[in-house]
Symmetry: C2
Subunit: 326 residues, 2 copies
Protein backbone atom coordinates (compact mmCIF):
# COMPACT_ATOMS: atom_id res chain seq x y z
CA UNK A 1 0.00 0.00 0.00
CA UNK A 2 2.86 2.39 0.80
CA UNK A 3 3.88 2.48 -2.87
CA UNK A 4 0.38 3.42 -3.95
CA UNK A 5 0.38 6.10 -1.28
CA UNK A 6 3.64 7.58 -2.61
CA UNK A 7 2.33 7.63 -6.14
CA UNK A 8 -0.99 9.24 -5.32
CA UNK A 9 0.70 11.73 -3.01
CA UNK A 10 3.13 12.79 -5.74
CA UNK A 11 0.40 12.99 -8.38
CA UNK A 12 -1.81 15.13 -6.20
CA UNK A 13 1.08 17.28 -5.02
CA UNK A 14 1.79 18.16 -8.66
CA UNK A 15 -1.84 19.06 -9.23
CA UNK A 16 -1.87 21.25 -6.11
CA UNK A 17 1.39 22.90 -7.17
CA UNK A 18 -0.06 23.60 -10.58
CA UNK A 19 -3.30 25.01 -9.20
CA UNK A 20 -1.37 27.24 -6.79
CA UNK A 21 0.69 28.56 -9.69
CA UNK A 22 -2.51 29.75 -11.35
CA UNK A 23 -4.43 30.70 -8.20
CA UNK A 24 -3.79 34.44 -8.46
CA UNK A 25 -3.93 34.78 -12.24
CA UNK A 26 -5.36 38.08 -13.39
CA UNK A 27 -5.48 39.65 -9.94
CA UNK A 28 -4.33 43.24 -9.55
CA UNK A 29 -2.48 45.19 -8.32
CA UNK A 30 0.73 43.24 -8.91
CA UNK A 31 2.36 45.17 -6.05
CA UNK A 32 0.07 43.12 -3.81
CA UNK A 33 -0.17 39.79 -5.63
CA UNK A 34 3.40 39.34 -6.86
CA UNK A 35 4.71 38.98 -3.29
CA UNK A 36 1.84 36.61 -2.45
CA UNK A 37 2.62 34.56 -5.53
CA UNK A 38 6.28 34.27 -4.51
CA UNK A 39 5.22 32.42 -1.38
CA UNK A 40 2.57 30.26 -3.05
CA UNK A 41 4.87 28.89 -5.75
CA UNK A 42 7.91 28.29 -3.56
CA UNK A 43 8.57 24.53 -3.22
CA UNK A 44 6.76 22.87 -0.32
CA UNK A 45 5.47 19.48 0.75
CA UNK A 46 1.77 20.42 0.40
CA UNK A 47 0.94 18.16 3.36
CA UNK A 48 -2.09 20.14 4.39
CA UNK A 49 -3.88 20.11 1.03
CA UNK A 50 -3.11 16.39 0.78
CA UNK A 51 -4.78 15.93 4.18
CA UNK A 52 -7.91 17.64 2.85
CA UNK A 53 -7.97 15.49 -0.29
CA UNK A 54 -7.33 12.18 1.47
CA UNK A 55 -9.77 12.98 4.29
CA UNK A 56 -12.51 13.73 1.78
CA UNK A 57 -11.72 10.52 -0.12
CA UNK A 58 -11.63 8.51 3.11
CA UNK A 59 -15.27 9.43 3.71
CA UNK A 60 -16.27 8.60 0.15
CA UNK A 61 -15.87 12.10 -1.32
CA UNK A 62 -14.22 13.09 -4.58
CA UNK A 63 -11.00 15.09 -5.00
CA UNK A 64 -12.60 17.41 -7.54
CA UNK A 65 -15.09 18.63 -4.94
CA UNK A 66 -12.41 19.71 -2.47
CA UNK A 67 -9.49 21.11 -4.48
CA UNK A 68 -10.44 24.68 -3.63
CA UNK A 69 -10.57 23.86 0.07
CA UNK A 70 -7.21 22.12 -0.32
CA UNK A 71 -5.72 25.28 -1.85
CA UNK A 72 -7.33 27.31 0.94
CA UNK A 73 -5.56 25.44 3.76
CA UNK A 74 -2.21 25.80 1.98
CA UNK A 75 -2.90 29.53 1.59
CA UNK A 76 -3.82 29.81 5.25
CA UNK A 77 -0.61 27.99 6.17
CA UNK A 78 1.45 30.29 3.96
CA UNK A 79 -0.23 33.35 5.43
CA UNK A 80 0.93 32.24 8.89
CA UNK A 81 4.47 31.69 7.57
CA UNK A 82 4.65 35.20 6.12
CA UNK A 83 3.57 36.88 9.34
CA UNK A 84 5.53 34.51 11.62
CA UNK A 85 8.70 35.22 9.65
CA UNK A 86 8.20 38.95 10.21
CA UNK A 87 7.70 38.38 13.95
CA UNK A 88 10.73 36.09 14.17
CA UNK A 89 12.80 38.42 12.00
CA UNK A 90 13.71 35.33 9.93
CA UNK A 91 15.93 35.85 6.89
CA UNK A 92 15.26 32.55 5.14
CA UNK A 93 12.45 30.01 4.81
CA UNK A 94 12.72 26.70 2.95
CA UNK A 95 16.16 27.85 1.82
CA UNK A 96 14.74 30.98 0.16
CA UNK A 97 14.74 34.56 1.32
CA UNK A 98 11.69 35.48 3.39
CA UNK A 99 9.12 37.80 1.89
CA UNK A 100 9.80 40.76 4.18
CA UNK A 101 13.52 40.55 3.31
CA UNK A 102 12.91 40.54 -0.45
CA UNK A 103 10.34 43.31 -0.22
CA UNK A 104 9.75 45.02 3.13
CA UNK A 105 7.74 44.46 6.30
CA UNK A 106 4.76 46.53 5.13
CA UNK A 107 4.48 44.63 1.87
CA UNK A 108 4.69 41.34 3.74
CA UNK A 109 2.03 42.31 6.29
CA UNK A 110 -0.38 43.22 3.50
CA UNK A 111 0.53 40.18 1.38
CA UNK A 112 -0.28 37.98 4.38
CA UNK A 113 -3.60 39.72 4.93
CA UNK A 114 -4.58 39.37 1.29
CA UNK A 115 -3.55 35.72 1.24
CA UNK A 116 -5.75 34.99 4.26
CA UNK A 117 -8.66 36.64 2.48
CA UNK A 118 -8.02 34.78 -0.78
CA UNK A 119 -7.88 31.56 1.26
CA UNK A 120 -11.47 32.19 2.38
CA UNK A 121 -12.49 32.95 -1.17
CA UNK A 122 -11.16 29.59 -2.37
CA UNK A 123 -12.62 27.72 0.59
CA UNK A 124 -16.09 29.11 -0.02
CA UNK A 125 -16.09 27.85 -3.62
CA UNK A 126 -16.34 24.29 -2.29
CA UNK A 127 -18.93 25.04 0.40
CA UNK A 128 -22.51 24.03 -0.42
CA UNK A 129 -25.56 24.61 1.78
CA UNK A 130 -24.94 21.36 3.62
CA UNK A 131 -21.34 22.33 4.48
CA UNK A 132 -22.03 25.41 6.54
CA UNK A 133 -19.77 24.08 9.30
CA UNK A 134 -16.73 24.27 6.97
CA UNK A 135 -16.08 28.03 7.13
CA UNK A 136 -16.68 27.83 10.87
CA UNK A 137 -14.12 25.00 11.31
CA UNK A 138 -11.67 26.88 9.10
CA UNK A 139 -12.13 30.01 11.19
CA UNK A 140 -11.69 28.10 14.46
CA UNK A 141 -8.44 26.71 13.08
CA UNK A 142 -7.25 30.16 12.12
CA UNK A 143 -8.09 31.62 15.53
CA UNK A 144 -6.24 28.83 17.31
CA UNK A 145 -3.19 29.26 15.08
CA UNK A 146 -3.09 32.93 16.15
CA UNK A 147 -3.51 31.95 19.81
CA UNK A 148 -0.76 29.34 19.46
CA UNK A 149 1.60 31.88 17.91
CA UNK A 150 0.87 34.27 20.77
CA UNK A 151 1.60 31.57 23.36
CA UNK A 152 4.82 30.70 21.52
CA UNK A 153 5.91 34.35 21.68
CA UNK A 154 4.98 34.47 25.39
CA UNK A 155 7.09 31.41 26.12
CA UNK A 156 10.17 33.09 24.67
CA UNK A 157 9.96 35.69 27.42
CA UNK A 158 9.34 33.23 30.25
CA UNK A 159 11.93 31.31 32.27
CA UNK A 160 9.86 28.16 32.67
CA UNK A 161 7.15 26.47 30.66
CA UNK A 162 5.46 23.24 31.74
CA UNK A 163 5.01 20.35 29.36
CA UNK A 164 1.22 20.84 29.53
CA UNK A 165 1.61 24.45 28.50
CA UNK A 166 3.89 23.36 25.68
CA UNK A 167 1.32 20.79 24.52
CA UNK A 168 -1.44 23.40 24.59
CA UNK A 169 0.74 25.72 22.51
CA UNK A 170 1.55 23.15 19.80
CA UNK A 171 -2.02 21.87 19.80
CA UNK A 172 -2.95 25.37 18.64
CA UNK A 173 0.05 26.57 16.67
CA UNK A 174 0.59 23.36 14.71
CA UNK A 175 -2.14 20.80 15.32
CA UNK A 176 -5.16 23.10 14.96
CA UNK A 177 -4.44 23.43 11.26
CA UNK A 178 -3.87 19.72 10.51
CA UNK A 179 -7.06 19.03 12.50
CA UNK A 180 -8.88 21.61 10.37
CA UNK A 181 -7.61 20.04 7.14
CA UNK A 182 -8.96 16.64 8.12
CA UNK A 183 -12.26 17.83 9.55
CA UNK A 184 -13.18 20.02 6.59
CA UNK A 185 -12.12 17.24 4.23
CA UNK A 186 -14.50 14.97 6.10
CA UNK A 187 -17.40 17.42 6.01
CA UNK A 188 -16.90 18.24 2.32
CA UNK A 189 -16.64 14.51 1.58
CA UNK A 190 -20.10 14.25 3.16
CA UNK A 191 -18.76 11.95 5.87
CA UNK A 192 -20.88 10.74 8.78
CA UNK A 193 -20.61 12.42 12.16
CA UNK A 194 -18.51 9.53 13.41
CA UNK A 195 -16.16 9.80 10.43
CA UNK A 196 -15.72 13.54 10.89
CA UNK A 197 -15.00 13.00 14.58
CA UNK A 198 -12.42 10.34 13.72
CA UNK A 199 -10.74 12.62 11.17
CA UNK A 200 -10.72 15.49 13.65
CA UNK A 201 -8.93 13.30 16.18
CA UNK A 202 -6.55 11.99 13.54
CA UNK A 203 -5.63 15.48 12.33
CA UNK A 204 -5.13 16.78 15.86
CA UNK A 205 -2.89 13.92 16.93
CA UNK A 206 -1.00 13.91 13.66
CA UNK A 207 -0.16 17.57 14.23
CA UNK A 208 1.02 16.95 17.79
CA UNK A 209 3.20 13.98 16.75
CA UNK A 210 4.53 16.00 13.81
CA UNK A 211 5.60 18.89 16.04
CA UNK A 212 7.32 16.72 18.67
CA UNK A 213 9.06 14.89 15.81
CA UNK A 214 10.09 18.31 14.50
CA UNK A 215 11.61 19.13 17.90
CA UNK A 216 13.48 15.80 17.79
CA UNK A 217 14.76 16.34 14.26
CA UNK A 218 16.21 19.68 15.21
CA UNK A 219 18.86 17.87 17.25
CA UNK A 220 18.96 14.43 15.64
CA UNK A 221 17.98 14.98 12.01
CA UNK A 222 20.11 15.40 8.91
CA UNK A 223 21.14 18.89 7.86
CA UNK A 224 18.65 20.38 5.45
CA UNK A 225 19.46 23.21 3.08
CA UNK A 226 18.96 26.37 5.08
CA UNK A 227 18.36 24.58 8.40
CA UNK A 228 21.03 24.00 11.04
CA UNK A 229 21.26 21.12 13.49
CA UNK A 230 20.51 22.44 16.95
CA UNK A 231 18.85 25.61 15.74
CA UNK A 232 16.28 25.43 18.55
CA UNK A 233 19.08 25.33 21.16
CA UNK A 234 20.89 28.23 19.50
CA UNK A 235 17.68 30.26 19.87
CA UNK A 236 16.90 28.93 23.36
CA UNK A 237 13.51 27.62 22.20
CA UNK A 238 11.43 25.80 24.80
CA UNK A 239 10.85 22.59 22.87
CA UNK A 240 9.54 19.25 24.14
CA UNK A 241 13.16 18.13 24.63
CA UNK A 242 14.29 21.27 26.38
CA UNK A 243 11.35 21.42 28.79
CA UNK A 244 11.70 17.74 29.69
CA UNK A 245 15.47 18.09 30.12
CA UNK A 246 15.08 21.13 32.35
CA UNK A 247 12.57 19.21 34.49
CA UNK A 248 14.85 16.21 34.90
CA UNK A 249 18.33 17.67 35.08
CA UNK A 250 20.00 18.14 38.45
CA UNK A 251 23.08 19.86 39.76
CA UNK A 252 25.53 21.07 37.11
CA UNK A 253 23.42 19.75 34.24
CA UNK A 254 20.50 21.84 35.41
CA UNK A 255 22.76 24.90 35.62
CA UNK A 256 23.72 24.36 31.98
CA UNK A 257 20.10 24.40 30.85
CA UNK A 258 19.24 27.37 33.04
CA UNK A 259 22.11 29.24 31.42
CA UNK A 260 20.53 28.64 27.99
CA UNK A 261 17.26 30.09 29.31
CA UNK A 262 19.04 33.11 30.77
CA UNK A 263 21.14 33.78 27.66
CA UNK A 264 18.22 33.00 25.32
CA UNK A 265 20.31 30.39 23.52
CA UNK A 266 23.63 28.54 23.52
CA UNK A 267 26.80 28.79 21.43
CA UNK A 268 27.17 26.65 18.31
CA UNK A 269 30.08 24.68 19.82
CA UNK A 270 27.88 23.65 22.76
CA UNK A 271 25.24 21.83 20.71
CA UNK A 272 27.04 18.48 20.93
CA UNK A 273 27.22 18.79 24.70
CA UNK A 274 23.49 19.46 24.99
CA UNK A 275 22.68 16.59 22.66
CA UNK A 276 24.69 14.32 24.97
CA UNK A 277 22.81 15.72 27.95
CA UNK A 278 19.49 15.05 26.22
CA UNK A 279 20.68 11.48 25.65
CA UNK A 280 21.86 11.06 29.24
CA UNK A 281 18.58 12.41 30.63
CA UNK A 282 16.57 10.10 28.38
CA UNK A 283 14.52 12.86 26.81
CA UNK A 284 15.26 11.77 23.22
CA UNK A 285 13.83 8.33 24.00
CA UNK A 286 10.88 9.90 25.77
CA UNK A 287 10.15 12.16 22.83
CA UNK A 288 10.37 9.22 20.40
CA UNK A 289 8.01 7.23 22.62
CA UNK A 290 5.60 10.15 22.76
CA UNK A 291 5.63 10.51 18.96
CA UNK A 292 5.03 6.77 18.64
CA UNK A 293 2.19 6.77 21.15
CA UNK A 294 0.37 9.79 19.73
CA UNK A 295 0.74 8.67 16.13
CA UNK A 296 -0.55 5.20 17.02
CA UNK A 297 -3.61 6.80 18.57
CA UNK A 298 -3.99 8.92 15.44
CA UNK A 299 -3.81 5.90 13.17
CA UNK A 300 -6.16 3.97 15.44
CA UNK A 301 -8.90 6.55 14.93
CA UNK A 302 -8.81 5.83 11.17
CA UNK A 303 -10.69 2.56 11.73
CA UNK A 304 -13.97 4.49 11.66
CA UNK A 305 -13.54 5.61 8.05
CA UNK A 306 -15.62 4.00 5.31
CA UNK A 307 -13.12 4.17 2.45
CA UNK A 308 -10.42 1.76 3.62
CA UNK A 309 -8.04 2.61 0.79
CA UNK A 310 -7.75 6.26 1.76
CA UNK A 311 -7.90 5.50 5.47
CA UNK A 312 -4.80 3.42 4.74
CA UNK A 313 -3.13 6.26 2.85
CA UNK A 314 -3.75 8.61 5.78
CA UNK A 315 -2.03 6.01 7.97
CA UNK A 316 0.84 5.83 5.46
CA UNK A 317 1.11 9.60 5.58
CA UNK A 318 1.29 9.55 9.38
CA UNK A 319 3.97 6.86 9.27
CA UNK A 320 5.95 8.75 6.63
CA UNK A 321 5.87 11.91 8.72
CA UNK A 322 7.08 10.31 11.93
CA UNK A 323 9.80 8.41 10.09
CA UNK A 324 11.09 11.42 8.19
CA UNK A 325 14.64 12.57 8.77
CA UNK A 326 14.27 16.22 7.82
Amino acid sequence: MADNFRQIYEEQKLIIDEKLTRALDGRLPLSLYKPVDYILVSPAKRLRPILVLFSAAATGGKFENVYNAALAVEMLHNFTLIHDDIMDNADTRRGLETLHKIYDVNTAILAGDALMAVAYEYLLKDVKKEHLSVPYLFTRGLIEVCEGQSLDKDFELRDTVTIDEYLEMISKKTAALSRTCCSIGGVLGNGTEKEIEALTEFGMKLGLAFQIQDDLLDISGSEEFGKKIGGDLLEGKKTFLFIKALERAEGEDKEEFLRVVKNKGCREDEIGKFRDLYEKLGVLTEARDEVGKISSEAIDSLRHLSNREYAGYLGDLANALIKRSK
Copy 2:
Protein backbone atom coordinates in the same frame (compact mmCIF):
# COMPACT_ATOMS: atom_id res chain seq x y z
CA MET B 1 -37.59 61.82 10.46
CA ALA B 2 -34.04 63.06 11.14
CA ASP B 3 -34.76 63.18 14.89
CA ASN B 4 -35.93 59.57 14.89
CA PHE B 5 -32.81 58.66 12.93
CA ARG B 6 -30.56 60.30 15.54
CA GLN B 7 -32.32 58.55 18.37
CA ILE B 8 -32.21 55.09 16.80
CA TYR B 9 -28.62 55.60 15.71
CA GLU B 10 -27.56 56.53 19.25
CA GLU B 11 -29.52 53.66 20.80
CA GLN B 12 -28.02 51.11 18.45
CA LYS B 13 -24.54 52.59 18.77
CA LEU B 14 -24.72 52.01 22.53
CA ILE B 15 -25.81 48.42 22.00
CA ILE B 16 -22.96 47.82 19.53
CA ASP B 17 -20.49 49.44 21.95
CA GLU B 18 -21.72 47.21 24.72
CA LYS B 19 -21.55 44.05 22.62
CA LEU B 20 -18.03 44.92 21.48
CA THR B 21 -16.99 45.36 25.11
CA ARG B 22 -18.01 41.77 25.79
CA ALA B 23 -17.03 40.29 22.42
CA LEU B 24 -13.74 38.78 23.60
CA ASP B 25 -14.82 37.75 27.11
CA GLY B 26 -13.12 34.59 28.32
CA ARG B 27 -10.70 34.32 25.39
CA LEU B 28 -7.10 33.45 26.12
CA PRO B 29 -4.21 34.18 25.98
CA LEU B 30 -4.58 37.74 27.25
CA SER B 31 -1.29 38.61 25.53
CA LEU B 32 -3.26 38.24 22.29
CA TYR B 33 -6.72 39.46 23.26
CA LYS B 34 -5.90 42.42 25.51
CA PRO B 35 -4.40 44.37 22.60
CA VAL B 36 -7.37 43.41 20.39
CA ASP B 37 -9.75 44.57 23.10
CA TYR B 38 -7.98 47.93 23.35
CA ILE B 39 -8.93 48.64 19.74
CA LEU B 40 -12.48 47.29 19.95
CA VAL B 41 -13.49 49.40 22.97
CA SER B 42 -11.86 52.65 21.87
CA PRO B 43 -14.55 55.24 21.05
CA ALA B 44 -15.75 55.19 17.44
CA LYS B 45 -18.78 56.16 15.36
CA ARG B 46 -19.80 52.53 14.62
CA LEU B 47 -21.03 53.62 11.19
CA ARG B 48 -20.41 50.24 9.59
CA PRO B 49 -22.40 48.15 12.07
CA ILE B 50 -25.20 50.72 11.84
CA LEU B 51 -25.19 50.25 8.06
CA VAL B 52 -25.64 46.49 8.55
CA LEU B 53 -28.52 46.99 11.01
CA PHE B 54 -30.33 49.61 8.96
CA SER B 55 -29.83 47.72 5.69
CA ALA B 56 -31.32 44.58 7.21
CA ALA B 57 -34.24 46.56 8.61
CA ALA B 58 -34.75 48.34 5.28
CA THR B 59 -35.46 44.96 3.67
CA GLY B 60 -37.80 43.89 6.46
CA GLY B 61 -35.23 42.07 8.61
CA LYS B 62 -34.77 42.29 12.36
CA PHE B 63 -31.82 43.80 14.23
CA GLU B 64 -31.47 40.74 16.46
CA ASN B 65 -30.71 38.55 13.46
CA VAL B 66 -27.77 40.67 12.31
CA TYR B 67 -25.98 41.93 15.42
CA ASN B 68 -23.17 39.42 15.01
CA ALA B 69 -22.65 40.46 11.41
CA ALA B 70 -22.69 44.07 12.57
CA LEU B 71 -19.94 43.33 15.08
CA ALA B 72 -18.04 41.46 12.36
CA VAL B 73 -17.83 44.45 10.01
CA GLU B 74 -16.63 46.67 12.86
CA MET B 75 -13.99 44.06 13.70
CA LEU B 76 -12.93 43.86 10.07
CA HIS B 77 -12.67 47.65 9.95
CA ASN B 78 -10.58 47.70 13.13
CA PHE B 79 -8.33 44.96 11.81
CA THR B 80 -7.54 47.18 8.80
CA LEU B 81 -6.85 50.14 11.10
CA ILE B 82 -4.35 48.14 13.19
CA HIS B 83 -2.37 46.97 10.17
CA ASP B 84 -2.66 50.29 8.28
CA ASP B 85 -1.32 52.15 11.30
CA ILE B 86 1.73 49.87 11.34
CA MET B 87 2.31 50.48 7.62
CA ASP B 88 1.84 54.25 8.01
CA ASN B 89 3.97 54.28 11.16
CA ALA B 90 1.14 56.28 12.76
CA ASP B 91 1.52 57.27 16.41
CA THR B 92 -2.09 58.11 17.16
CA ARG B 93 -5.56 57.09 16.01
CA ARG B 94 -8.81 58.70 17.18
CA GLY B 95 -6.68 60.72 19.61
CA LEU B 96 -5.31 57.56 21.27
CA GLU B 97 -1.95 55.88 20.89
CA THR B 98 -1.87 53.27 18.14
CA LEU B 99 -1.62 49.62 19.10
CA HIS B 100 1.91 49.06 17.80
CA LYS B 101 3.10 52.08 19.79
CA ILE B 102 1.55 50.87 23.06
CA TYR B 103 2.76 47.31 22.52
CA ASP B 104 5.03 46.56 19.56
CA VAL B 105 4.74 45.79 15.85
CA ASN B 106 4.70 42.02 16.31
CA THR B 107 1.90 42.17 18.86
CA ALA B 108 -0.08 44.45 16.58
CA ILE B 109 0.39 42.24 13.52
CA LEU B 110 -0.90 39.23 15.44
CA ALA B 111 -3.71 41.19 17.11
CA GLY B 112 -4.88 42.26 13.66
CA ASP B 113 -4.75 38.70 12.35
CA ALA B 114 -6.73 37.37 15.31
CA LEU B 115 -9.29 40.16 14.99
CA MET B 116 -9.85 39.30 11.33
CA ALA B 117 -10.42 35.68 12.30
CA VAL B 118 -12.77 36.58 15.16
CA ALA B 119 -14.67 38.80 12.71
CA TYR B 120 -15.40 35.72 10.58
CA GLU B 121 -16.44 33.80 13.66
CA TYR B 122 -19.01 36.45 14.56
CA LEU B 123 -20.20 36.81 10.98
CA LEU B 124 -20.84 33.09 10.63
CA LYS B 125 -23.11 33.08 13.70
CA ASP B 126 -25.70 35.01 11.71
CA VAL B 127 -25.34 33.00 8.48
CA LYS B 128 -28.08 30.44 7.82
CA LYS B 129 -28.23 28.03 4.88
CA GLU B 130 -30.01 30.62 2.77
CA HIS B 131 -27.29 33.24 3.39
CA LEU B 132 -24.34 31.43 1.85
CA SER B 133 -23.49 34.54 -0.18
CA VAL B 134 -22.75 36.48 3.02
CA PRO B 135 -19.29 35.05 3.84
CA TYR B 136 -18.47 35.40 0.14
CA LEU B 137 -19.50 39.09 0.06
CA PHE B 138 -17.60 39.69 3.30
CA THR B 139 -14.49 38.05 1.82
CA ARG B 140 -14.77 40.05 -1.41
CA GLY B 141 -14.93 43.20 0.71
CA LEU B 142 -11.85 42.16 2.66
CA ILE B 143 -9.87 41.36 -0.49
CA GLU B 144 -10.73 44.69 -2.05
CA VAL B 145 -9.76 46.56 1.12
CA CYS B 146 -6.32 44.90 0.88
CA GLU B 147 -6.08 45.78 -2.82
CA GLY B 148 -7.11 49.37 -2.06
CA GLN B 149 -4.48 49.65 0.65
CA SER B 150 -1.87 48.33 -1.77
CA LEU B 151 -2.87 50.88 -4.42
CA ASP B 152 -2.77 53.65 -1.82
CA LYS B 153 0.79 52.65 -0.89
CA ASP B 154 1.73 52.51 -4.60
CA PHE B 155 0.40 56.01 -5.16
CA GLU B 156 2.70 57.38 -2.45
CA LEU B 157 5.67 56.37 -4.56
CA ARG B 158 4.32 57.70 -7.85
CA ASP B 159 4.58 61.24 -9.20
CA THR B 160 1.19 61.28 -10.89
CA VAL B 161 -2.11 59.56 -10.28
CA THR B 162 -5.17 60.08 -12.47
CA ILE B 163 -8.58 60.80 -10.99
CA ASP B 164 -9.82 57.45 -12.34
CA GLU B 165 -7.00 55.63 -10.54
CA TYR B 166 -7.84 57.56 -7.39
CA LEU B 167 -11.52 56.60 -7.69
CA GLU B 168 -10.59 52.94 -8.17
CA MET B 169 -8.39 53.10 -5.08
CA ILE B 170 -11.05 54.62 -2.81
CA SER B 171 -13.73 52.36 -4.25
CA LYS B 172 -11.66 49.51 -2.81
CA LYS B 173 -9.97 50.97 0.23
CA THR B 174 -13.04 52.75 1.61
CA ALA B 175 -16.18 51.98 -0.37
CA ALA B 176 -15.79 48.18 -0.62
CA LEU B 177 -16.44 47.89 3.10
CA SER B 178 -19.48 50.18 3.25
CA ARG B 179 -20.83 48.31 0.22
CA THR B 180 -20.25 45.02 2.06
CA CYS B 181 -22.06 46.27 5.16
CA CYS B 182 -25.15 47.18 3.14
CA SER B 183 -25.17 44.09 0.94
CA ILE B 184 -24.78 41.60 3.78
CA GLY B 185 -27.40 43.49 5.77
CA GLY B 186 -29.73 43.10 2.80
CA VAL B 187 -29.03 39.38 2.37
CA LEU B 188 -29.38 38.66 6.10
CA GLY B 189 -32.58 40.71 6.14
CA ASN B 190 -33.82 38.31 3.46
CA GLY B 191 -34.21 41.14 0.97
CA THR B 192 -35.19 40.61 -2.65
CA GLU B 193 -32.52 40.59 -5.35
CA LYS B 194 -33.54 44.10 -6.34
CA GLU B 195 -33.27 45.32 -2.76
CA ILE B 196 -29.83 43.78 -2.30
CA GLU B 197 -28.69 45.36 -5.55
CA ALA B 198 -30.00 48.75 -4.41
CA LEU B 199 -28.24 48.42 -1.05
CA THR B 200 -25.01 47.40 -2.77
CA GLU B 201 -25.15 50.52 -4.91
CA PHE B 202 -26.05 52.68 -1.93
CA GLY B 203 -23.16 51.33 0.16
CA MET B 204 -20.67 51.75 -2.65
CA LYS B 205 -21.65 55.32 -3.45
CA LEU B 206 -21.93 56.26 0.21
CA GLY B 207 -18.32 55.12 0.66
CA LEU B 208 -17.09 57.11 -2.33
CA ALA B 209 -18.90 60.26 -1.21
CA PHE B 210 -17.64 59.73 2.35
CA GLN B 211 -14.01 59.52 1.21
CA ILE B 212 -14.13 62.58 -1.06
CA GLN B 213 -15.82 64.44 1.80
CA ASP B 214 -12.98 63.25 4.03
CA ASP B 215 -10.46 64.70 1.58
CA LEU B 216 -12.38 67.99 1.65
CA LEU B 217 -12.58 68.09 5.44
CA ASP B 218 -8.84 67.70 5.70
CA ILE B 219 -8.44 71.24 4.35
CA SER B 220 -11.78 72.84 5.20
CA GLY B 221 -13.01 71.04 8.32
CA SER B 222 -12.74 72.00 11.97
CA GLU B 223 -9.76 70.79 13.97
CA GLU B 224 -10.45 67.49 15.62
CA PHE B 225 -8.58 66.17 18.63
CA GLY B 226 -5.50 64.49 17.23
CA LYS B 227 -6.14 65.58 13.64
CA LYS B 228 -4.52 68.61 11.99
CA ILE B 229 -5.95 70.80 9.25
CA GLY B 230 -4.02 70.13 6.06
CA GLY B 231 -2.57 66.83 7.24
CA ASP B 232 -2.93 65.35 3.75
CA LEU B 233 -0.86 68.21 2.28
CA LEU B 234 1.78 67.85 4.97
CA GLU B 235 2.14 64.19 3.93
CA GLY B 236 1.86 64.90 0.20
CA LYS B 237 -1.15 62.59 -0.13
CA LYS B 238 -2.71 62.33 -3.56
CA THR B 239 -6.27 63.20 -2.61
CA PHE B 240 -9.18 64.13 -4.88
CA LEU B 241 -8.31 67.80 -4.31
CA PHE B 242 -4.61 67.40 -4.94
CA ILE B 243 -5.00 65.34 -8.13
CA LYS B 244 -7.58 67.76 -9.56
CA ALA B 245 -5.43 70.77 -8.61
CA LEU B 246 -2.34 69.27 -10.20
CA GLU B 247 -4.34 68.62 -13.39
CA ARG B 248 -5.64 72.19 -13.59
CA ALA B 249 -2.80 74.30 -12.30
CA GLU B 250 -0.50 76.08 -14.75
CA GLY B 251 2.76 77.95 -14.58
CA GLU B 252 3.96 78.84 -11.08
CA ASP B 253 0.93 77.25 -9.40
CA LYS B 254 1.75 73.95 -11.04
CA GLU B 255 5.36 74.23 -9.88
CA GLU B 256 4.12 74.63 -6.31
CA PHE B 257 2.12 71.39 -6.48
CA LEU B 258 4.93 69.52 -8.22
CA ARG B 259 7.22 70.58 -5.40
CA VAL B 260 4.84 68.95 -2.89
CA VAL B 261 5.01 65.72 -4.93
CA LYS B 262 8.80 65.87 -5.08
CA ASN B 263 9.25 66.65 -1.38
CA LYS B 264 6.48 64.22 -0.36
CA GLY B 265 4.68 66.98 1.50
CA CYS B 266 4.65 70.71 2.26
CA ARG B 267 5.58 72.78 5.31
CA GLU B 268 2.93 73.64 7.89
CA ASP B 269 3.13 77.38 7.09
CA GLU B 270 2.28 76.66 3.44
CA ILE B 271 -1.10 75.07 4.09
CA GLY B 272 -2.98 78.38 3.85
CA LYS B 273 -1.36 79.07 0.49
CA PHE B 274 -2.40 75.70 -0.89
CA ARG B 275 -5.93 76.11 0.42
CA ASP B 276 -6.10 79.42 -1.47
CA LEU B 277 -4.78 77.69 -4.58
CA TYR B 278 -7.43 74.98 -4.24
CA GLU B 279 -10.04 77.75 -4.00
CA LYS B 280 -8.62 79.62 -6.99
CA LEU B 281 -8.54 76.48 -9.13
CA GLY B 282 -12.11 75.61 -8.19
CA VAL B 283 -11.29 72.14 -6.89
CA LEU B 284 -13.07 72.66 -3.54
CA THR B 285 -16.28 73.44 -5.39
CA GLU B 286 -15.73 70.52 -7.72
CA ALA B 287 -15.19 68.13 -4.81
CA ARG B 288 -18.34 69.42 -3.08
CA ASP B 289 -20.31 68.96 -6.30
CA GLU B 290 -18.94 65.44 -6.68
CA VAL B 291 -19.91 64.55 -3.10
CA GLY B 292 -23.37 65.99 -3.72
CA LYS B 293 -23.80 64.11 -6.99
CA ILE B 294 -22.63 60.73 -5.72
CA SER B 295 -24.60 60.93 -2.50
CA SER B 296 -27.74 61.91 -4.43
CA GLU B 297 -27.29 58.81 -6.57
CA ALA B 298 -26.78 56.77 -3.41
CA ILE B 299 -29.96 58.09 -1.84
CA ASP B 300 -31.84 57.63 -5.10
CA SER B 301 -31.13 53.89 -5.06
CA LEU B 302 -32.96 53.62 -1.71
CA ARG B 303 -36.31 53.92 -3.49
CA HIS B 304 -36.23 50.17 -4.16
CA LEU B 305 -36.34 49.24 -0.47
CA SER B 306 -39.53 47.88 1.04
CA ASN B 307 -39.24 49.29 4.54
CA ARG B 308 -39.60 53.01 3.91
CA GLU B 309 -38.80 53.99 7.49
CA TYR B 310 -35.32 52.47 7.40
CA ALA B 311 -34.76 53.46 3.78
CA GLY B 312 -35.32 56.98 5.11
CA TYR B 313 -32.86 56.49 7.96
CA LEU B 314 -30.20 55.30 5.51
CA GLY B 315 -30.82 58.49 3.57
CA ASP B 316 -30.52 60.48 6.81
CA LEU B 317 -27.25 58.73 7.53
CA ALA B 318 -25.92 59.64 4.08
CA ASN B 319 -26.96 63.26 4.57
CA ALA B 320 -25.41 63.38 8.02
CA LEU B 321 -22.12 62.05 6.69
CA ILE B 322 -21.81 64.51 3.82
CA LYS B 323 -22.78 67.43 6.05
CA ARG B 324 -20.36 66.52 8.82
CA SER B 325 -17.62 68.99 9.71
CA LYS B 326 -15.09 66.58 11.19
